[in-house]
């Protein structure tokens, strides 16, 4: 595999926006190909990594940074999608002359869950930003806890504890 060229200095917000834009495009392409509209986020994140990291030579000095961005972007993406679905259900689906959208109860349920998770995660972020970061990398980027530990430069035991706590915290808020 080619080594990426040296990274130019880049504005983090612009980078994040770029990751988000690409993620969104890839996710929607993937969704378009699926009958039931399931999103394989882990695959999307990894594919994006290959594309942006290896080919585009984007300013990701390190893998760590990429996955941190991707996890955050994936979280935003899922929340946006969830909002769209919910507004869709409540909104334009019911049009006076032609009735179109047969709302998908299952998708809506998971959309609601996605929004709840986002809110609970924001809550966790407020009191324990590190644990929230662990959740993002684990849940949204699909990294193993060992990888998460590497990414964050933490001991594995710390990450395991963070994860166990964050899981309880989130489930308690959501379930």
């Amino acid at each position: 595999m080619d080594t990426p060229p040296p990274a130019p200095a880049a504005d983090p917000d612009a980078l994040f926006a770029e990751v988000y834009r690409r993620l969104k495009a890839m996710a929607s392409r993937q969704l378009a190909g699926h009958e039931r509209g399931t999103l394989d986020t882990t695959a999307v994140v990894h594919e994006l990594y290959l594309r942006m990291g290896a080919r585009q030579g984007l300013a990701f000095a390190e893998q760590q940074q990429f996955f941190a961005y991707a996890a955050r972007a994936m979280r935003h993406l899922l929340v946006d999608r969830a909002r769209e679905r919910l507004s869709q259900r409540a909104g334009g689906g019911w049009i006076a002359t032609t009735l179109d959208a047969e709302d998908d109860g299952l998708a809506i349920a998971s959309a609601e869950q996605a929004l709840q998770l986002d809110a609970a995660l924001a809550e966790l972020e407020r009191v324990d930003a590190r644990a929230a970061r662990v959740v993002e990398l684990r849940y949204f980027s699909g990294l193993a806890l060992e990888q998460v530990a590497d990414m964050l430069g933490l001991a594995r035991a710390t990450v395991v504890r963070d994860w166990r706590f964050a899981r309880s915290f989130l489930h308690d808020r959501i379930d």
Partner: protein
């Protein structure tokens, strides 16, 4: 390294409290479950609400939640393709391990010794290869999910799952820790262990099983050959959870039609194909304990002390006599084994931990829970432990009872969540057990199959917890509804509504949602009265219930949407949506999106009530609110679509086209490439373009719309039927008359298959309106008359006087009745006069359908309808936006003008108009009816 944006690192005000709680949680996690509550109670520095919070976290910690599995998963492709013949496999490399030799062969898998060379050392592993591949997506996903769950299982008493995956050939494999040891019964015999030593060994096994049960992983196949004890005396469980992982294969592999189980160790519910839970393992542990203690295998229901015989003791090489063993077993150990092996899972221990605890109590001479809890018994045990100096402690005895009762009660609450999760999980997994009839062995069950089985199972083996039953029924009803099933769904939806009301109370949001679903199913089946009744009850419930504002508002939306189709008065629908909007506006947490949704839905209600002007204002407001947060969104695109619909209904076709195109462009930017909203946008654009005879654009849009309607909705859906009737109109506009007839016929045939009679009527009427122009131009006045009369007299809430563009169809009815009178037309000229009166409304002059309506009446009888040359010329001049210079409406108009002029004796003018009409018509296809036929 850049930090990802947005993380707020300011120290929150309650940071100290949080830090304290988190530290306490970590301490608690390190404690055994039964010690946690003691710690919590003994801790002085904790406030009551903090204890409650900690208990809730512990309860959440005990469950295996959905967070465990990362959102989405990805299939692993590791190793080489492996065929079903394992002889050729030795020497190959799988999951990084070289397969050295076969360790054992089972019914569905072969186990190899795997070797991996590292720096100066060699790692051994047991590599298990399935005989059969997992070919379907569902199978592979289930396998991967389970594998991930098992990979998190880390306990010194459980052989670790090192790796696993699916080879590119679809063959699943598992790499497990290689354990060098002997089966527990052989180990006990070889070391000549006595009862106490065997019990200690058994408690260790229980501890390992309990660790898995804590994560809601069930072994399913506990037996001596799966429990190896190392030379150091440490028992290790093999194949944890593997049974479930492989369950799908068994049917195909053995052809017995039974899931994997080991006779003698399998619990009754495994034979009965019931739910597999932690209690299933407890049963097998009971069998194992009996075997360790009396040397007998099998599900013998006699007390172990009654099965003791010299031969078995000799075979077990236990240092005991018949009498001493019988005495040791009699009482507590008998009770423990029998409790574990109870036929009814609910009577058994709550898990391996509870069983180990009881044995621990026996070893410490404390009262065991397996014994009937008589006070005398407890007291005897208590005295047994505190021999001497006991008798002043009656008070203490009472305290012990009280503490025990409280602990049990609290444990009950903490476990309720976990148990419900287990029940639902077990239930859903049971659905994926091999199909017993119908489908082939290699075929994954279809969603329909699963639903059918799920329903049967809920009926036959209702899970004990009413909440579980309610949740399951609601889930199946929802899935069924999504799949579009109807007839069979009615009972299910009704049962779900009832079960939810029983489990959670009528006023709970879940019950209300279940009732809403029931109403929707009733509507789909055409039982409008039933649906209305259900909706009105719901509305009353909503008013009196305690439901969060946003949920409440959403349910009101649902009510309104259903109400629209079930004949609810438009004013009532508007009132509902005003109520919903007020709720949203009154909710401090409502965001722009929530408010926008409220505006949009009120707009849609007003549109339904015929107040287009107000509706437009609300839609505009909704668009603004949606775009306050995001310039582009599906919701905003939907509002644009709604605005287009209003413009279209008001007869402003160019404005409508602009809105539709805006909506389509927004969807493309998001990007949404396939969606019901996009279907509507495309089909509506197609319709307007056909109306305006912008045929090149129409060709493109109609084809796109039809393809997408098919992809998104399928052939029988009304949107696809709508696409067919638009294609027919397009055919006709091109002059392909025969194709148009065929397409209209196809649309009608599909519409006839719509199950709900109300929907069927509506779709058929829509096809009639679509075909009205071609009947007119072809001068098929009988068909036109029947269709238009039926339309105007329809009692359907969205037809009759409520038909969009009703004035236009009334004028066509008047024309058809003038040309082909029938009894249904009423008195001569009555319809003409009424239609002419309606058309005199000045507000209609800007409507795109005004000109053709005027022409229809003039064609019927211009004088009687009060139509003169000036009025037609004015209408022609006013319609330039909708009708291009070569539009066929202009051909009609000049021919009508020529007739009217001729009637007034203006032959020169008449000839000039007729010539203009013919010049325009000359560019039409030879088969177009306007090409040759002169208007009479």
């Amino acid at each position: 390294m850049h930090e990802p944006p947005a993380a707020d690192t300011r120290r929150p005000p309650d940071a100290d409290r949080y830090a304290r709680l988190r530290a306490a949680f970590e301490v608690l996690c390190a404690l055994a479950p039964d010690a946690q509550e003691d710690w919590l109670c003994a801790r002085d520095g904790l406030a009551d609400d903090e204890r409650v919070q900690l208990r809730r976290w512990l309860a959440a910690d005990a469950g295996e939640g959905w967070l465990e599995t990362p959102v989405g998963g990805h299939a692993v492709h590791i190793g080489d393709a492996v065929g079903s013949d394992d002889r050729g496999v030795v020497g190959q490399s799988i999951g990084g391990f070289r397969l050295a030799r076969v360790l054992g062969r089972g019914g569905m898998a072969t186990v190899f010794l795997g070797e991996r060379d590292g720096d100066g050392y060699s790692q051994l592993a047991a590599v298990k290869l399935l005989r059969r591949g997992l070919y379907s997506d569902v199978e592979q996903r289930l396998f991967q999910r389970e594998r991930r769950a098992l990979a998190t299982l880390s306990h010194h008493g459980i052989a670790r799952l090192i790796d696993g995956g699916i080879t590119t050939a679809g063959i699943p494999f598992l790499v497990m820790e290689y354990v060098d040891g002997e089966p527990i019964t052989e180990f006990a015999a070889a070391r000549r262990l006595g009862v106490t030593a065997r019990l200690h060994l058994f408690v260790e096994v229980c501890a390992a099983v309990a660790a898995a049960h804590q994560r809601l992983i069930v072994h399913r196949d506990i037996k001596p050959s799966n429990i190896l004890v190392t030379a150091a005396g440490a028992p290790k469980l093999l194949d944890f959870g593997i049974a479930k992982l492989l369950d799908d294969e068994i049917d195909g592999a053995t052809g017995t039609g039974l899931p994997l189980l080991t006779p003698g160790y399998a619990a009754p519910e495994q034979y009965a194909l019931g739910s597999i839970t932690t209690a299933t393992d407890v049963f097998a542990l009971g069998v194992l304990l009996r075997e360790l203690l009396v040397g007998r295998t099998g599900a013998d229901t006699r007390r172990p002390s009654a099965c003791v015989d010299a031969a078995s003791i000799a075979a077990m090489r236990m240092p005991a006599t018949e009498r001493s063993l019988r005495a040791a077993l009699d009482g507590d150990l008998d009770n423990i084994v029998l409790k574990a092996m109870a036929t009814e899972p609910a009577v058994r221990y709550d898990g391996a931990a509870a069983m180990a605890d009881d044995i621990g109590r026996y070893l410490r001479r404390e009262p065991v829970s397996a014994h009937p809890p008589s006070r005398l018994y407890r007291a005897r045990k208590f005295v047994g432990r505190h021999r001497g100096g006991v008798l002043g402690t009656l008070l203490m005895l009472v305290a012990v009872f009280a503490a025990l009762a409280v602990a049990l009660w609290q444990a009950q609450i903490a476990r309720a969540q976990a148990r419900r999760a287990t029940e639902v999980q077990a239930f859903v997994e049971a659905l994926f057990e091999p199909m017993r009839d119908g489908t082939g062995r290699d075929q994954a069950p279809s969603l329909d199959d699963l639903l059918r089985r799920g329903r049967t199972r809920i009926d036959a083996r209702a899970p004990g917890d009413p909440g579980v039953r309610a949740d399951l029924l609601a889930m199946f009803a929802r899935i069924d509804d999504t799949l579009g099933a109807t007839r069979g769904n009615l009972d299910l939806a009704r049962d779900a509504a009832r079960a939810n009301a029983i489990a959670y109370g009528e006023r709970d949001a879940r019950s209300v949602a279940a009732h809403e679903l029931h109403a929707r199913v009733l509507r789909k089946l055409g039982d409008y009265a039933g649906a209305r009744g259900e909706l009105e009850r719901l509305h009353a419930l909503l008013r009196s219930g305690d439901i969060a504002a946003q949920d409440h508002a959403r349910l009101l939306d649902a009510l309104g949407a259903l109400g629209k189709e079930t004949g609810m008065a438009p004013a009532e629908v508007v009132a509902l949506e005003r109520e919903a909007l007020a709720l949203r506006e009154g909710d401090a947490e409502a965001g722009n999106d929530d408010l926008a949704t409220g505006y949009n839905n009120l707009g849609a209600a007003l549109l339904f009530a015929g107040d287009g002007a107000q509706a437009r204002a609300w839609f505009e407001r909704a668009l603004q609110a949606y775009q306050a947060d995001h310039a582009d969104s599906l919701a905003a695109a939907s509002v644009l679509l709604n605005l287009g619909v209003i413009a279209n209904d008001e007869g402003d076709w160019t404005a409508a086209l602009g809105r539709y195109a805006g909506s389509r462009a927004m969807l493309a930017r998001i990007p949404i490439e396939r969606h019901p909203v996009l279907v509507t946008v495309l089909l509506r654009e197609c319709g307007v373009l056909v109306d305006m005879e912008r045929l090149d654009e129409a060709d493109r849009r109609c084809a796109e719309g039809e393809a997408m309607a098919l992809a998104v909705h399928g052939r029988g859906h009304r949107q696809f039927i709508g696409a067919l009737s638009r294609r027919a109109r397009l055919d006709f506009a091109h002059g392909r008359v025969a194709e148009a007839h065929a397409d209209f016929a196809a649309a009608r045939a599909s519409a006839d298959a719509i199950e709900s009679p109300e929907d069927r009527r509506f779709v058929l009427a829509s096809i009639d309106t679509a075909q009205s122009r071609s009947w007119w131009l072809e001068q098929d006045f009988e068909s036109l008359r029947d269709a238009m009369l039926a339309l105007s007299s329809s009692s359907h809430p969205r037809l009759g006087a409520n038909t969009i563009g009703a004035f236009h169809y009334a004028s066509l009815a008047a024309l058809a009745c003038a040309r082909a009178p029938s009894d249904d037309c009423g008195g001569e000229g009555v319809r003409l006069a009424a239609a002419a009166r309606a058309l005199a409304d000045p507000a209609l002059r800007r409507h795109a359908l005004y000109l053709p309506s005027l022409l229809a009446l003039a064609e019927a009888d211009a004088a009687a309808a009060g139509i003169d040359v000036g009025r037609i010329e004015a209408a022609l001049a006013g319609a330039s936006a909708a009708y291009a210079p070569a539009h066929t409406v202009r051909v009609q108009a000049y021919r009508v003008l020529a007739d009217v002029r001729r009637g007034h004796g203006d032959d020169a003018g008449a000839d000039a108009d007729a010539a203009r009409a013919d010049r325009l018509a000359a560019s039409l296809a030879a088969t177009h009816p306007l090409r040759s036929r002169r208007m009479p």
